[in-house]
Structure formats: structure tokens, C-alpha cells
């Protein structure tokens, strides 16, 4: 047993760290570190920088422009980027749909879409959830009917993250309602500029526009945009789930948030002393820090295993989001009464008004409410527990 990174891994970490330090635009890092609002261009700019370096799609096979990194290298990269305040690489194109196209897509789909995903020319969105299909995703109703060279799509998707920016959306649609619900689902790539698509914002508790409803009304989708075979969409969706997982623990970001929390709690006072020295508050911070230390090792254990990560990845989702939420909770509570003032304008990168209370207080409560999403999205934590219960414990 050896819990040290190898010399090569250390060198790789140094390389990533200095690259991020030298190339992550300061204005973008400032926004991330201070929980300011990111614009579409902030994500795209960072992704293009990574693209130029050849690091934007490390999970892809080498022949498509991937890095062939080990899982540990991937973790080091995620951790360094997260810690430094780089925006998350948008997963919908690079991490989610691309592996599906690589494995099941047609030659045309590979040649047309993959380079555009790699260069961030197209912004992708995920069309899975529907108003009546959340955790029970396979019950989805959006239907696609074949008419000559096209499918006609009718229905509604929801919780579409940053769909307002999307050029493309990959959708699970029902092409056959006469068979078992999982078997009648197909996987379509749909151009968001198609006539009949309407995007309506859903405003979340922080009054931000991060998610959307997407309506499909008689939308014509060329048959060449069907991935793989009709009726196999559920298989592809499950394949995709196995591909979006390594970063799910968000260890780097949580380390950064923990450090910020400690910094804030050393500036805020209780009984005339720094809040962090108050045993009641300090013990709550310690509890999260200990869980995070444990999660990092749990993650490394999963990554170091010879076999591909299986259902134990659900542990990373549950624990990772528990920790993220606990950190936002403590950060909000650290503000005391300054958690109350709600000034969304202060989260604009160009806002130079007079802050109310300490500058770092402005986003705290909004971020706390925003992060309630983490235990709901990507398979709610209850679904993750079902998965472990069935696949690991055999209950």
C-alpha cells in the first residue's frame, strides 16, 4: 500500500497547476471564486483555452482528441482546476453526448459533431427530464414519429441546464409506446434552432436563470440525427451515466469552498472573537472537513481500483453533494444577519455599487439555496441509495 502520488503524478500536478495559473483568465477566476454570475462567453473562453492545450476532453479516446490520462491524472486535473477557480467544463457535450456518439453514432455524426464539440463551437444541452418524469425517467412521454426522412417530435423537456445558450440538445424520446417503457425510447440529436422549439426560463430560488423548459411542437428532426438504433435509447442513456462520474465528488471545489469558509469565519465575530474560534461553530466545520478528507481517499480508492467504477460511484455522489451542501450552509450561517440582504445585482461581474455588509456576504444565501439542487440532480440521492441497496447490498 502506498498513499503517495508517484513522481510522475506529482510532476503532472505541477504542470496542470502552472498551466492553470498562467492561462486561466483572472476575470473568470474572480467570478468563480466570488460566486459571481458567469456569462456564456466565460465558459466558452476557458474551454477554448483548454482545447488549444489539448486538455478539454481528457476522457475521450486518443484518436478523437482525448488525453489517455489515467483516472488518477484525471482526478488531479479536476482537483487543480476546481481548486483554482476554473469554471466547470460544461459536461453536456464533452462528457455526456460525445462518448455516446463515439460508441454508437454514425460516421457522419462522428465527423460532423465531435470536432464541433471539441472546439466548443456547439453548446449542448441535455433533454432527459420531463415534467412527469424525474426519477422515473423511463416513463418519459415526448414522442417522435417517423415521417419519411424525418422524425416529428412533440412534447416537453425540463430542468434543461443553460439551455438558453444551447445550439444542440440530445433527447430521449419515445418512438414506440406499444412495448416495455425502456424499450420504446430512442436517442435524438436536435438542433435548437429548429422551428417549433420554444425555450422558457425557470427561475430558481436564487432568482437566477440556470434551467429551462424546452417545448417541442411538431419539430422536424432529420433521421440522420438518430443515434444508433431506434428503441435503444435507454441503453445509450445508461452507458452515458457510466461516463459522467469521475468528477462527481467535486473534491477540489469543496476544498476551495472549505478554505473560503474558514477565511470568512476568521473575519466574522461572535462574542468579540473570530467565529472560527467558537467551539460550536468550529466543530461543525471540522465535521465537514473530516468527511471531505475521507471522501478524497474514498475517491482515490475507487479510481485506483483495477476495475471500472461501478455502483460505488453513487457513494461519491451522495457524499460529495452532502459536503457541498454542508459547506454552503455553514458559509451562509457564518454571515449571521448579513445572510438576509438579497442583491442579485451584486453578483454581476461589472457591478461596482456599494456592498451591504462584507463583500463576501452577498452571494452566500443565494448559493445555499442554489446548491439544494445537488442532491436532486444527476439521479437524486434517494435514487443513488436505491442503486447501492440493490447492486451492492443486494437488498
Amino acid at each position: 500500500m502506498d498513499l503517495n502520488y508517484t513522481k510522475e503524478e506529482q510532476a503532472f500536478r505541477d504542470e496542470v497547476r502552472s498551466f492553470v495559473r498562467d492561462n486561466l483568465p483572472k476575470d473568470i477566476a474572480d467570478k468563480v471564486l466570488h460566486h459571481k454570475r458567469l456569462a456564456k462567453d466565460d465558459w466558452v473562453r476557458w474551454q477554448k483555452i483548454l482545447y488549444k492545450q489539448g486538455w478539454v476532453a481528457p476522457n475521450w479516446p486518443k484518436e478523437y482528441g482525448g488525453c489517455a490520462w489515467t483516472p488518477i491524472q484525471q482526478h488531479i486535473f479536476d482537483e487543480e482546476c476546481g481548486y483554482a477557480g476554473a469554471p466547470r467544463v460544461m459536461p453536456f457535450g464533452l462528457v455526456m453526448v460525445a462518448p455516446v456518439i463515439q460508441h454508437f453514432g454514425s460516421q457522419w455524426q462522428k465527423e460532423y459533431y465531435l470536432p464541433r464539440i471539441l472546439s466548443s463551437e456547439d453548446w449542448w444541452a441535455q433533454g432527459y427530464s420531463e415534467p412527469g418524469s424525474g426519477s422515473d425517467l423511463a416513463s418519459l412521454k415526448t414522442k417522435a414519429v417517423r415521417q419519411g426522412d424525418h422524425y416529428i417530435v412533440d412534447g416537453q423537456k425540463t430542468w434543461t441546464t443553460l439551455g438558453q445558450y444551447a445550439d444542440m440538445i440530445f433527447c430521449l424520446v419515445r418512438t414506440d409506446s406499444t412495448v416495455k417503457k425502456q424499450e420504446g425510447i430512442s436517442f435524438l440529436l436536435i438542433d435548437m434552432k429548429s422551428p417549433g422549439i420554444t425555450v422558457r426560463p425557470i427561475i430558481t430560488l436564487d432568482e437566477e436563470h440556470e434551467v429551462n423548459e424546452v417545448f417541442f411542437d411538431n419539430v422536424k428532426v432529420p433521421v440522420q440525427n438518430l443515434v444508433g438504433e431506434e428503441g435503444k435509447g435507454w441503453t445509450y442513456a445508461k452507458f452515458l451515466l457510466g461516463h459522467e462520474r469521475t468528477g462527481i465528488a467535486r473534491v477540489g471545489e469543496s476544498k476551495r469552498e472549505l478554505e473560503q469558509l474558514k477565511d470568512i469565519a476568521s473575519k466574522q465575530l461572535r462574542n468579540g472573537k473570530p467565529l472560527i474560534e467558537d467551539p460550536r461553530f468550529r466543530d461543525r466545520v471540522t465535521a465537514v472537513e473530516v468527511e471531505l478528507m475521507a471522501l478524497e481517499i474514498t475517491l482515490l480508492r475507487v479510481l485506483s481500483a483495477r476495475s471500472k467504477p461501478g455502483p460505488e460511484v453513487s457513494i461519491l455522489k451522495i457524499k460529495g453533494t452532502d459536503i457541498q451542501q454542508a459547506l454552503t450552509e455553514l458559509t451562509m450561517e457564518a454571515m449571521g444577519p448579513y445572510a438576509l440582504p438579497f442583491r442579485p445585482e451584486a453578483r454581476d461581474g461589472n457591478w461596482h455599487g456599494e456592498p451591504v455588509g462584507p463583500e463576501y456576504a452577498a452571494p452566500a444565501a443565494a448559493v445555499y439555496f442554489n446548491y439544494r439542487k445537488t442532491s436532486i440532480y444527476g439521479g437524486s440521492n434517494e435514487i443513488q441509495r436505491n442503486i447501492i441497496s440493490q447492486m451492492v447490498l443486494g437488498l
Binding site: D283, A287, N386, S389
Partner: protein
């Protein structure tokens, strides 16, 4: 980075696991606990034969030159079997105090005897007022010619009554809580002036209150440097805590396994109770607690050797915090999920829960280590 144990380590683990599952079943353990001394000489001799008693000592001292990871492996298996033999007090805590503080001559003489199963040790560190603070020492050792005279009361000394020799912390200078002025002494348990009140512990082991009334020891009884024992005590305690964490992981694993098995077999309303989601999700949390505990126990077993005392303290305390919380949750949930059977002394489940709770109360609980963790930042 790899989490794979060497072939030798796997063999050690497998043979111990086999031995315990064969020879140390619930009924055998019950009989051992009910015996006069509370542990089995036969089992102890077997442990010596298997090489467990000197696993972490230097070869020069009669050991096998293993590492803290080997100790962790052994302790995990002992935890899985809720073994009550004095491995922790003699080999882990007593052994490491001698290993860290002793002279070459002391190590050669004593550690090889421990390794052969001929010498039992107990560490008499705590006192009625000390709680978990190793620096809180009111027992005194006053210079007397070439030797010392000891007076005081040591509390909850694990396996104190069966030990041949006691490793005693006593104050040679300074006030009751001062860091400087603490020294270590080797005292024969049968020495004149030593009185031992032995008793059972709730988790099936033994402990003792030990009083020292004008106990005379020679200069050769001094272990390590006079007045400067605290750093050594802390290191040995950290090593012992990392071993307790490993033991707890084994106990959690066994307790989870027996609980999940019960969920699959116990029928109510015409179906196994494990088919109810109200229990499934809690079972998953028990499993996650076990994995998070394992992660930090592994880290502690490595970092306990760190040359940087702050890193060592932080990681060891983090592990003890995790184990304290997780052990409580798993113990409580296991009892609850076993229903009425969970509170019966006839079932192993409750005995695991007892051991896990007492591990939390040994060498620092969650609160103690939370404070220590913050101060080591």
C-alpha cells in the same frame, strides 16, 4: 498510489481471518469472557505462533519488522471478531511506548518477550481527573537515591490486572497539567505498594483502577528521558488510536454484514424487511459510513508515521472523529434494525455496538479529537 496489500500482508490477514472465524465464534468468545482472567492463554499462544505479537517490532528486537500498516491489518481482523485478548494494551500501546521511549537494552529484553507471548503489558496513563488528556498527570515519582518512589491513582487501565508490567506516566516535575515534567516508568504489577482493582468492561474486556502507595523502583525502571515523556506519549497514543480506528473498521464491517443478512432473511408482512425502502436507505448510509471510516483508517495507518507532528495529529484525530461518529451510527442502526433481537445479549450485533461505543471512549472521543484537530491546523 495504490491501496493493495502485499502478498505477505494478505497472507497474514487471511490466516488470522481463518483462525478467528474457526476458533473464535460467538460461543467461544462468550466462554473466554466468562473465564477468570477474561481472555484465553491458548489464543494468546496461537497469536504468538502466528507472529502477530511482534508484527510491528524490529527484527533486532525479536519482531518481524513490519509497519503500522501490518498493525492495522491485524487490528481490523481482531475487530471483525471482537477479540478480547490484550493485543491492544500489550502489543499496540504498551509495545509502542517501549519501542518509542525505551533504551536499546530495554527494547531487546522486553519486546522480544512480548513477541513470544511471555510478557503482558498495560499502559497506565489515565487518571480520575485526566479524562483524555495525556498531559494531565497527578501521579508523582519522587527521586529516592538512585531510583524513584511513585504515588498516585491510575484509572481505567486496560487489562491492568493481568499485566506483568505496567508502563506508568508520572510527574517528576511541574504542575498537574504542565507539558514538561512527565516521565515514564516500568513497574511490576506485583511490586509492593501496587493495589489493583480489576473489573469487566461493558464490551467484554477487562480494566483496572491501579493505586501506587510509596512504590519503589530502581533507576532501570525509567523509560526514556526524565521530564520529557509527553511527545513520546502522544506519538504512542496516536499509533494506538490509528490501531483502534482499524479495529473499528473491522467491527463495522462485520456488524454491517450481519445486519444486512438479517434484513434479507427476517420476514414481516410476508416479505423480507430488507425490501422496505425505509430500511434500505439507512442500510446504505451504514455502508457509506463504513467506507468513509475505512478511508481515514487507511490514511491514519500511513500518516501516523509522518515526521511532521501536525500532519500526524490532524490525520489521526480526523480518523478518530470519523470512527466515533460512524461507529455510533452503525451501532445504533444495527440494534434498531434487529428489532427486539438487537437488544438481546444473546446476539453478536449488540456486542459489536458495545465495542464500537467503547472505542469512541478510548484515547479520546469525537469532541476531544475535534478540539485537537482544530488546534493542529
Amino acid at each position: 498510489m495504490d491501496f493493495i496489500f502485499s502478498e505477505e500482508q494478505q497472507q497474514l490477514r487471511d490466516s488470522l481471518q481463518k483462525y478467528i472465524s474457526k476458533e473464535y465464534g460467538f460461543e467461544a468468545r462468550k466462554a473466554i469472557i466468562a473465564s477468570k482472567q477474561g481472555f484465553s492463554d491458548k489464543v494468546w499462544a496461537q497469536f504468538a505462533d502466528m507472529g502477530l505479537l511482534g508484527v510491528a517490532f524490529d527484527e533486532a528486537h525479536g519482531g518481524f519488522g513490519g509497519s503500522s500498516v501490518d498493525t492495522m491489518l491485524v487490528m481490523t481482523e481482531l475487530g471483525r471478531g471482537i477479540v478480547v485478548e490484550p493485543y491492544f494494551s500489550t502489543v499496540v500501546l504498551g509495545g509502542s511506548l517501549i519501542d518509542l521511549a525505551g533504551s536499546e537494552a530495554q527494547k531487546q529484553a522486553l519486546l522480544s518477550e512480548v513477541a513470544q507471548g511471555k510478557l503482558l503489558l498495560a499502559a497506565a496513563l489515565g487518571e480520575p481527573n485526566s479524562r483524555y488528556e495525556l498531559n494531565c498527570v497527578e501521579t508523582t515519582a519522587k527521586r529516592d537515591g538512585a531510583g524513584y518512589v511513585l504515588n498516585g491513582h491510575k484509572a481505567v487501565v486496560l487489562h491492568g490486572e493481568s499485566a506483568d508490567k505496567l508502563v506508568v506516566s508520572a510527574r517528576t516535575a511541574g504542575g498537574a497539567r504542565e507539558a514538561k515534567g512527565i516521565s515514564l516508568f516500568l513497574v511490576e504489577r506485583k511490586a509492593a505498594g501496587v493495589t489493583v482493582l480489576g473489573y469487566r468492561t461493558i464490551d467484554g474486556m477487562r480494566a483496572a483502577e491501579i493505586k501506587f502507595a510509596n512504590v519503589k523502583v530502581g533507576a532501570d525502571a525509567v523509560l526514556g528521558e526524565i521530564d520529557a515523556a509527553l511527545p513520546v506519549l502522544e506519538r504512542a497514543a496516536d499509533f494506538a488510536v490509528s490501531a483502534l480506528c482499524a479495529e473499528a473498521v473491522g467491527a463495522m464491517e462485520a456488524l454491517n454484514a450481519t445486519t444486512f443478512e438479517y434484513l434479507k432473511t427476517r420476514q414481516q408482512f410476508g416479505r423480507p424487511i430488507g425490501s422496505f425502502q425505509a430500511l434500505q436507505h439507512r442500510a446504505v448510509d451504514m455502508m457509506i459510513h463504513n467506507e468513509q471510516s475505512r478511508s481515514l483508517a487507511l490514511l491514519a495507518s500511513v500518516k501516523v508515521q509522518s515526521e511532521d507532528p501536525n500532519e500526524r495529529k490532524r490525520v489521526v484525530s480526523a480518523a478518530k472523529i470519523q470512527i466515533g461518529r460512524s461507529g455510533r451510527l452503525i451501532g445504533q442502526e444495527a440494534i434498531q434494525m434487529h428489532g427486539g433481537m438487537g437488544v438481546s445479549n444473546e446476539l453478536a450485533a449488540g456486542h459489536y455496538a458495545k465495542r464500537l461505543a467503547m472505542i469512541n471512549a478510548t484515547l479520546g472521543d469525537v469532541e476531544h479529537h475535534s478540539e485537537r484537530f482544530a488546534s493542529a491546523a
